[in-house]
């Protein structure tokens, strides 16, 4: 790879655009390779993964867009730890490194990060990075869902930055350590190999571009692209009215200290010239439970929320982070001290997102949004008739918050998760596992009432064909997604079990290894999104549409909106509605 062989410079917009496309294709291609060859349906369908190109200093150059946004900052925050332990000068072509330490830029034990240095003329010019949630790396719970972990050592094997491959061959000692610490050694090694294969894809494509344009040109491009994204970010931020806006979001619990309150607080200060400061002072101290968010994860959430208020097409790279000054008080939920458990960091990250969206909704009332439901995760496991243990990690989404002038989307990955997070289909699941899904449908009346209504949650009933155990990890179930500006919260999601004797048992939001007998049913309902504006102001015709489409019941229309539906005529009873609404507003005054 020659450094300066070729003439085109990066001042030339054409070459710049071509390289931009080329690098995006490289990281996208790598993410597809990683996702497809991984052994976990969580990754295959949920795209809990990412692939990126970083510069020699750890700055993000290009990142896959089809993967989860939770990892916007994961790779760029992890690489400095590798560089601190293993100086770039001591790396050799064919080296690949792995790490997962949440206190050094990582996420939690199951999210393994892999880096491959890319060389030109004998020195490292870029790093290819990939990340997925791997199958199992030990810890107290199968597949890394240690809902009740109280420190990070209970969550699985921790890897400081270690050499995973040397001269393109696996380092056997490290591979054996990972294997020995997993309940599913074949799967986890398959996942690790997929990560390595992903970095090879990036290195190969970057090599091809460097052959054509020169590695020096690529390095100049990277700086140029970061500067460009920074300018775009600042231009967008400068358009938000300057001032300090406060936001807060309460998490419904950490599953350990039932009486504690957990709140993420933020003060967002816009200077009017493109800079933004996000100060999380006042955020609750870190939890004993696993809801703590390492700093890289909080940063992912912060950047996501801010980006919702600027041009959505800005390329994701280091330049996006530059206008942000983020203050994360140590020892709090958003920047815990070791060895706090971090497996459920999504609760805190998503609370940070909601707190910022709330603050900026006040800055931009024309662009406001209610709170959304969060991913509901559960695991079913059992032993099949042949004696083989089976296990599947499931997830389901609830409703999104209402938007100014628009209802919230139903049952969709939260704004933050979004993207490729899709729900697996039932037929392939039933073909592999001993259960039958009896029904899955939108849950009527679960959308938070408001002038704009929150999106609906989902109700699913699963009947077990063999004895099994269920482990659940729910969020925004005890405290459902709040509304804004007079809008009501969405319905609170629930887990429950229908026993053979007909009894129905409520399962807490977070619980481990609840036994289920063959023939018993597991019922889940996901929370609805928060409403926006007072529901009494909702246009009765929209309420009628909701009744027609089954999103709101006739009783719900009267109870939540003060709208009386004449079922016979399939119409709004205007007189009765006016009377009911007048009576309610009178009562309020």
């Amino acid at each position: 790879m020659p450094t300066d062989a070729v003439t085109p410079t990066i001042d030339d917009p054409i070459t710049s655009e071509i390289i931009r496309n080329g690098l995006m294709v490289a990281v996208e291609e790598a993410s597809i390779a990683v996702v497809r060859s991984s052994h976990s349906s969580f990754i295959q369908e949920g795209a809990d993964a990412c692939a990126a190109l970083l510069d020699a200093d750890g700055g993000l150059v290009a990142q896959s867009t089809t993967t989860s946004l939770m990892h916007s900052a994961s790779l760029r925050c992890s690489l400095p730890a590798l560089l601190a332990d293993v100086p770039a000068a001591s790396m050799a072509p064919g080296d690949v490194f792995a790490q997962n330490d949440p206190y050094r830029g990582g996420i939690h034990a199951n999210d393994i990060v892999v880096f491959r240095p890319i060389f030109a003329e004998g020195r490292v010019v870029f790093f290819a990075g990939t990340l997925i949630h791997v199958a199992d790396v030990g810890g107290i719970s199968v597949a890394g869902l240690a809902a009740l972990a109280t420190d990070t050592f209970a969550e699985g094997l921790l890897l400081p930055p270690v050499r995973l491959y040397a001269a393109d061959e696996p380092v056997a000692d490290v591979i054996r350590i990972i294997e020995r610490n997993s309940r599913a050694p074949d799967k986890v090694i398959g996942d690790v190999k997929a990560l390595v294969a992903g970095t090879s894809v990036i290195a190969r494509r970057v090599g091809e571009l460097a052959d054509r344009y020169g590695a020096g040109t690529l390095v100049r491009f990277a700086r140029h692209a970061m500067d460009h994204a920074e300018r775009q970010m600042r231009a967008g931020l400068a358009r938000i009215p300057p001032g300090t806006y406060e936001g807060a979001f309460e998490i419904d619990g950490d599953g350990v200290d039932a009486d504690r309150e957990f709140t993420v607080r933020v003060a967002v200060t816009l200077d009017g010239s493109g800079g933004v400061e996000l100060d999380f002072a006042g955020t609750s101290p870190q939890a004993r439970g696993m809801i703590n968010s390492s700093y890289s994860q909080t940063l992912s959430g912060v950047l996501y929320a801010v980006r919702c208020f600027v041009d959505p097409t800005i390329a994701m790279n280091e330049g996006c982070f530059r206008p942000l000054t983020t203050r994360l008080p140590p020892g709090t939920l958003v920047n815990p001290a070791p060895p706090a458990a971090c497996g459920g960091r999504l609760m805190t990250v998503a609370a940070a997102v909601e707190a910022i969206l709330g603050a900026l909704s006040a800055a931009r009332p024309d662009h406001a949004v209610g709170a959304s439901s969060l991913i509901h995760v559960w695991t079913l496991t059992g032993v099949d008739p042949s004696g083989q243990r089976w296990l599947n990690l499931f997830y389901e989404f609830g409703g999104l918050g209402a938007r100014t002038g628009k209802d919230g989307p139903d049952a969709t990955g939260a704004f933050f998760l979004g993207g490729r997070s899709v729900i697996p289909q039932l037929e392939p699941l039933e073909a592999q596992y001993p259960f039958v899904v009896r029904s899955t449908r939108l849950w009527p009346d679960s959308g938070g009432p408001g002038e704009a209504r929150g999106g609906l949650g989902v109700e699913t009933v699963i009947e077990l064909l063999t004895d099994a155990e269920v482990t659940v990890r729910g969020a925004r179930m005890d405290i459902p997604p709040p509304g804004r500006g007079g809008g009501h919260p969405g319905a609170a999601g629930t887990w429950s079990v229908e026993r053979l004797d007909g009894a129905s048992e409520v399962v807490p939001a977070k619980a481990t290894n609840i036994p289920l007998a063959a023939g018993e049913r597991f019922v889940l309902r996901t929370s609805g999104g928060g409403g926006l504006g007072p529901p009494e102001r909702r246009d009765p015709r929209l309420v009628l549409d909701d009744v027609r489409s089954g999103k709101v019941t006739v009783a719900g229309a009267a109870r939540d909106y003060g709208v009386v539906i004449d079922v016979e005529r399939d119409a709004v009873d205007a007189g009765a509605t006016a009377a009911l609404r007048a009576e309610r507003s009178g009562r309020h005054e």
Binding site: N21, E29, S37, Q44, L69, V422, S549
Partner: protein, 708 residues
């Protein structure tokens, strides 16, 4: 062209702007009719185009023995949601199968708090649950009782929908309940279009199967009426042969099947283009080609390997272009096989602009046909790709189809809009626009090549469509592709593809089993599909008019996956009955395909998921006659010269302009050159040479080593 003896075949491709008609004789003669598309009723344009082609050739309508049609009707109905109200009948507990979908977000939307989810194609009040349930092995968990059947039929009848889709869980393994409900609905509503999921595409994955079935029911009534009307209009002309339709995977089917299973036509036009590229490539001596079709608003890239178009099973109608993989949430997902096309919003009309950060961008907004590029002087003021190409000297100021004269002043004025903020001259800006649109189109080619693990350097680029031949050689350079073929009728290549194709049908049956499994039952699955395929293609009939060139060709393939993984890979099987001896070969091929796709080995055992069969029936079609090649200097067709600015050169160079209609096989010239045809312009960059082959195609070859 002879008036007596011989048969004639018509290819009719309806595009957004033009309706292209190709009239081909069994003697290899060809006549073209190109007329404006009539969006109100496309059949008006079809009839006018056919009339023009027949009159021009002096051919009697009675001599037409085959009409093959490429239509975007199905896609338009789905995207515009212009079909009638359709009912979905599904398993109790799953009425929301379409509304819930995959609960996906599109990546482009993720920072957009105000995104709109794609609305489901069925009104929730027209979704009906039937009390029944199969398990994954096809065993009834809840039997469909007579009472349950009567109940659901009565509710559907009362709603009086225009079409009905029936999709029950696990019907791909046991369609008994679907069959009973479908039959009862057809009895009760004999005039209504009813389709069941097992009839259209019996493959596992309920959301996509239901959507495929629903799209069929949405399009069915419209398609049937359209095709009946077309047949009648052709009858008035005196053309009596049954109309045939290009289906999405590049085969041709009867209009009767298209009316029954209209979802199969969603990528009818795109399939015709890739098919044409494959045929042209094959005759020119290239079996592995990249098909590159560039029109006014979009460019499409596809590939042909070993003479066959690459196929995807993850198609999204109206889906957004992307970097591969399934694109849940972007459009209406279908499981049927569709030519694997990457489409990008980059065409002659794409508009150039400067973004907030000061970078030059091209597209996806297009000036379309109205007002069109600025140089057309029809009121367009924004700079387009066509304006850039014109300013660079690629287009002739005097001549454009339809007698449009191009205005250099207007093109330059528009280009100033992006040149000024960037501090570039008008010509520099034009060059930048040309190169950026090339980069966008290169991304589409990457999707169908490198992202599928295919090295484009082993391929030949076939460039066609109104704007494709202008960009083809430059794109080839980007990928290190040494040769480009511009088809002899580049402007109507898709219509040529229609009239050059055989009848074909693709069928699938899900049959999940660990290998080796029960080999006899696997063979039974394949044999049943094969039998059905031959029946669909009219085995036993003599193709009225004797237009049967004889013979069926059957290809078998299987989808396998590593146990425990969701993604599956398709591997080919040898023809003929499948037996135990084939199992090791099948698993070996799977493991090889796995390594190719992912670069690593899977330790997991292979699991059989789907059986696939494609049956092709060879029929009479256009067979182009080769002409003798006499090498000679193409300068004899020289029509003039003009200054052209090529991307790699600092200044414009005087470049010879050739008149394609005067080029004979064997004509050769070293670039740079511009070849002007009746409806397309071919750019031969410096360092490339052009030669006319014995079929009349232009073969562009890079003559000097690529720059370092």
């Amino acid at each position: 062209m002879s008036e007596t003896g011989g048969r004639y075949y018509l290819g009719v491709d309806v595009g957004g702007t033009f309706t292209d008609v190709v009239l081909a004789g069994s003697d290899g003669s060809v006549r073209i009719g190109k007329v404006l598309t009539t969006p109100g009723d496309p059949r008006d344009g079809i009839v006018a185009g056919i009339r023009a082609a027949l009159d021009g050739a002096g051919v009697e309508t009675s001599a037409v023995s085959r009409v093959v049609h490429g239509t975007t009707l199905a896609t338009n109905v789905v995207i515009e949601r212009s079909g009638g109200p359709v009912a979905l009948v599904t398993t109790e507990g799953f009425a929301d199968v379409l509304r819930l979908g995959r609960e996906a977000r599109v990546e482009e939307d993720r920072y957009d708090l105000f995104f709109d989810p794609v609305p489901p194609p069925v009104d929730p009040r027209l979704t009906f649950e039937a009390r029944e349930r199969m398990d994954a092995h096809g065993k009834p968990l809840v039997a469909l009782t007579a009472g349950a059947l009567d109940d659901v039929v009565a509710r559907v009848v009362a709603a009086a929908p225009s079409g009905i889709a029936v999709c029950f869980l696990h019907a791909y393994v046991n369609p008994e309940h679907e069959r009973a409900v479908t039959a009862a609905l057809r009895d009760a509503l004999p005039e209504t279009f009813v389709v069941a999921s097992h009839e259209i595409w019996p493959e596992i994955r309920e959301y996509e199967r239901a959507m495929t079935t629903v799209v069929c029911a949405v399009v069915g009534p419209v398609m049937a009426g359209y095709l009946d009307g077309l047949q009648a209009r052709l009858g008035e002309l005196g053309i009596t042969c049954p109309v045939e339709i290009m289906e999405s995977s590049g085969g041709v089917m009867s209009a009767a099947r298209a009316a029954r299973q209209p979802v199969l036509t969603v990528e009818s036009g795109g399939a015709a283009g890739v098919t044409a590229a494959g045929i042209v490539g094959h005759t020119a001596g290239f079996d592995d080609v990249i098909s590159f079709d560039m029109g006014g608003t979009t460019a499409k890239a596809g590939i042909v390997r070993h003479g066959r178009p690459a196929i995807t099973h993850d198609f999204q109608v109206g889906g957004k272009g992307s970097f591969g993989g399934t694109r849940a949430g972007t459009g209406v997902p279908l499981k049927i096989p569709v030519v694997d096309l990457a489409e990008v919003g980059a065409g002659g009309g794409s508009i150039a602009w400067v973004d907030a950060g000061g970078a030059l961008r091209v597209g996806p907004r297009s000036a379309g046909a109205d007002p069109g590029p600025a140089c057309y002087a029809r009121g367009g003021t924004e700079p387009t790709v066509t304006d850039a190409n014109f300013l660079l000297g690629f287009l002739d100021p005097a001549g454009l189809a339809g007698g449009v004269t191009l205005s250099r002043d207007l093109a330059a004025e528009a280009m100033t809009r992006v040149a000024e903020p960037l501090g570039l001259t008008v010509l520099e800006a034009a060059r930048a626009v040309h190169e950026i649109v090339n980069a966008t189109m290169a991304a589409a080619i990457r999707v169908v090549t490198v992202q599928r693990g295919i090295d484009p350097r082993e391929f030949t680029l076939v460039g066609f469509g109104g704007a494709g031949p202008m960009h083809a050689a430059r794109l080839a350079e980007t990928f290190g592709i040494p040769a480009v073929v511009v088809p002899w009728a580049a402007g109507v290549a898709s219509a040529v593809g229609l009239v050059s194709s055989d009848l074909a049908v693709d069928l699938v049956q899900t049959h999940v089993t660990d290998l080796p499994g029960d080999v006899e039952s696997l063979e039974a699955v394949f044999a049943a599909l094969e039998h059905r395929g031959r029946g669909e293609l009219g085995a036993g009939d003599d193709r009225a008019g004797g237009a049967d060139a004889g013979g069926f060709v059957v290809t078998r393939s299987a989808d396998l996956r590593a146990r425990g993984q969701a993604h599956q890979l398709t591997v080919e099987l040898p023809p003929g009955p499948f037996d135990a001896a084939d199992v090791p070969m099948l698993t070996a091929r799977f493991h090889e395909a796995y390594r190719d796709a992912y670069g690593i080995d899977t330790g997991a055992p292979a699991q059989f998921v789907n059986a696939r069969v494609r049956v092709v029936r060879r029929v009479d079609k256009l067979t182009r006659q080769a002409e003798p090649v006499t090498p000679h200097d193409a300068s004899v067709a020289r029509a003039g010269e003009r200054a052209v600015l090529f991307p790699d050169l600092p200044d414009p160079v005087e470049t010879p302009v050739l008149d394609w209609t005067r080029l004979e096989p064997g004509a050769e010239l070293a670039g740079p050159a511009v070849v002007e045809g009746p409806d397309t312009t071919v750019v031969v960059p410096p360092g490339w040479g052009v030669a006319v082959d014995r079929w009349g195609n232009l073969l562009l070859r890079r003559e000097i080593a690529q720059k370092p």
